[in-house]
């Protein structure tokens, strides 16, 4: 059943066995996994089925650390941020789960096996085909990669569904048909009410942007609002404890992580076609693959580095201004972003139609790849988990009167060192394999390197309700249950203690499936 708070009477009380707050990747995954089960599920979504500016404005906040577009990085309607997800998928690595002496606050209380158990099902949900990520899948094809020296770099492949899975679109019919699921649109949770010691959630207070109020009651609550909003809801739920719900360890909102993405270097390639065939997007059986060069675990340990990867972007390597602008626009649109230089780029496209036409024709014919000026090399870094990088509440309020988010995103020298090292290794391999020579960006070779002004994140939000073995070091336990609240579970990448160097969606979907299994047992008992 799909319903809308706007169409319900003011003061309505909704009831279910399980109340899931947030209909994004995590919330929808859990709900659809419970479809047909002998329990009642309520799925609360703050937005409708399309983007609405009034609702989206609830995401506005203050960025006081590294600049961050809080409202553009997330989407608040059915399907959540998957509505602009690029679909890049790869599991976390085994090393990401380990306690690493050289990475402060590292280590998960569960092992890689817990993720691995659910990867095949998570692949099906994300339309990714078989869980194969290595170069062996391209053996004997024109895309077979160069023999990269494994002691310096590991080659792995991201998998991308074509088009990327939009969870709202894909699972809407399931949610509508399931007799045991009620999805309520325009239902923003304003706080979780608890008993006096704040050890049990009694209800979720709900409102829509017009001010209509309602209440959701359930035996079990699952917070699945995303890596920033999960922390915000807990901090806003401060009736029993001024520090917020589940925040006895002062970890709620801390350890915020985001993957910095950097244009770190350019490859002066000897043979563009050779590079493009192997390192541009590869289509295989309806799935797109993108090669990444990753630092092996041994190198990470030996040199005290974070898990970091680099990838070439041959399709951005053109000299023609019109086609370059067109590609920048397309790049932004694919990522659901407003292009950085939209006016300039549109002008270049319009004024260089001849060039675009010529380049398009040229690309259609063999041998017309030419020799491009340079091929960008981008780096994506594991962010070090640091308590000072955090989400807290601002003094300003949104239209519902709720305190907005204040984000203090921080990175350390360790990410920079790790990025430099992976680029150095790519430079060495490019030379050894006779692919060309790499040139580092100027900011990267400065005597005292600092993050560039145009630093971007992957729009990944992790760590703010981290999983820990004991209440002193995190917010949720190994079952994703809040240490301090017996009927509150948290889903999504906010529970990740470390972030690896991969997009979180596939991983959070796998862990959401694991949580759904656990919730069945919880409700049954």
């Amino acid at each position: 059943l799909l319903t809308d708070l706007r169409h319900l009477p003011d003061g309505t009380v909704l009831e279910a066995d399980i109340c899931i707050i947030g209909a994004g990747a995590a919330g929808i995954t859990i709900a659809q996994a419970l479809a047909g089960a002998s329990l009642q599920v309520m799925l609360l979504e703050s937005g409708g089925t399309e983007l609405e500016s009034e609702v989206q404005a609830l995401y506005e906040g203050e960025s006081v650390g590294l600049a961050y577009p809080l409202d553009a990085a997330r989407l608040r309607f059915l399907g959540g941020t998957t509505n602009h997800w690029m679909g890049q998928s790869h599991p976390l690595d085994r090393i990401d789960f380990q306690k690493r002496a050289w990475v402060a606050h590292s280590g998960w209380p569960i092992g890689y096996g817990e993720l691995e158990r659910y990867l095949t099902d998570a692949h099906a949900i994300c339309d990714l085909g078989a869980p194969i990520y290595g170069p062996e899948q391209l053996r004997g094809t024109p895309h077979e990669p160069d023999a990269v020296a494994p002691e310096g770099l590991v080659l792995r492949y991201y998998r991308i569904a074509t088009p990327p899975t939009r969870f709202g679109e894909k699972f809407r019919a399931t949610l509508e048909r399931a007799e045991n699921i009620t999805t309520v649109l325009h239902a923003t949770v304003t706080a979780l009410a608890t008993n006096a010691p704040a050890s049990h959630v009694t209800q979720a207070d709900i409102a829509d942007v017009s001010g209509k109020r309602a209440t959701a009651r359930a035996r079990v609550f699952v917070l699945a609002c995303g890596g920033i909003e999960n922390a915000r809801v807990l901090l806003l739920s401060d009736q029993a404890n001024p520090a917020g719900l589940g925040n006895g360890s002062d970890c709620v909102g801390r350890f915020f992580m985001e993957h910095p993405e950097l244009h770190a270097a350019d490859l002066e390639a000897h043979d563009f076609k050779h590079i493009a065939q192997r390192y541009d997007t590869i289509e295989r059986g309806g799935i797109r693959l993108i090669a990444q060069f990753q630092l092996p675990p041994e190198v990470q340990e030996r040199q005290g580095l974070l898990n970091t990867a680099a990838f070439l972007v041959p399709w951005m390597a053109v000299t023609n201004s019109g086609i370059q602008s067109l590609r920048r626009l397309w790049w932004a649109v694919r990522r659901g972003r407003v292009p950085d230089q939209m006016t300039n780029d549109l002008w270049h496209v319009v004024s260089d139609l001849d060039g675009i036409f010529g380049a398009t024709l040229g690309r259609l014919s063999e041998g017309a790849w030419g020799t491009p000026a340079e091929i960008p090399l981008w780096v994506t870094c594991e962010p070090a988990p640091t308590p000072e990088s955090r989400v807290s509440l601002a003094d300003t309020v949104d239209t519902l009167g709720l305190r907005r988010v204040r984000l203090d995103w921080r990175l350390s020298d360790q990410e920079l060192r790790s990025a430099q090292e992976v680029v150095r290794h790519v430079g060495m391999e490019a030379g050894r394999l006779r692919l060309g020579r790499l040139r580092l960006k100027e900011w990267f070779t400065a005597p005292a390197p600092a993050w560039p002004d145009d630093l971007k994140g992957g729009y990944h939000h992790l760590g703010t309700t981290r999983m820990s073995a004991t209440p002193a070091h995190g917010v949720v336990d190994v079952d994703c249950r809040c240490h301090e609240v017996d009927n509150l579970f948290i889903a999504g990448s906010s529970v990740f203690p470390t972030a690896g160097c991969t997009n979180p969606t596939l991983n959070l979907v796998a862990l959401a499936l694991r949580l759904a299994d656990h919730l069945r047992d919880v409700v049954r008992t």
Partner: protein, 124 residues
């Protein structure tokens, strides 16, 4: 003056020509044996000047490399290309790299360029 992309485009094109032993692209020119390796010795010298400016201590090893390669190759350009290519590959494999104006270069290729810039009348 920093090296431009064009300088390096010329230099790397010359290098790869030597590495792949495509004789048509390797011009035989008068001068040192290393000079004969580069289709554009001027670009190689310019790179060499930057290497010497960034790392003055490389002058002696650069000359030593030039001498050693000449002896090994006995003046034959193809053999010289082979010898240098092997060294460059070994440098990249073993992490013996230098960074000049942001370019990640094998130590041997940086030294080879430096050697061409040590000749008489080179305005570094």
């Amino acid at each position: 003056m920093a090296l431009s992309r064009r300088d390096f485009a010329v230099w790397t094109a010359a290098t790869v020509a030597a590495l792949r032993l495509e004789p048509a692209l390797v011009a035989v020119r008068p001068g040192s044996p290393l000079d004969r390796l580069f289709s554009n010795p001027a670009a190689a010298r310019k790179v060499g000047c930057r290497v010497l400016a960034a790392m003055p201590e490389t002058a002696r090893p650069a000359m030593a490399l030039a001498t050693e390669l000449s002896v090994v190759a006995k003046g034959a350009t193809d053999a010289l290309g082979h010898a240098l290519a092997e060294r460059i590959e070994g440098d990249f494999r073993d992490g013996r790299i230098v960074i000049i104006d942001g370019w990640v270069l094998a130590r041997s290729e940086a030294l080879a360029c430096a050697a061409t810039a040590l000749g008489p009348g080179v305005p570094c």
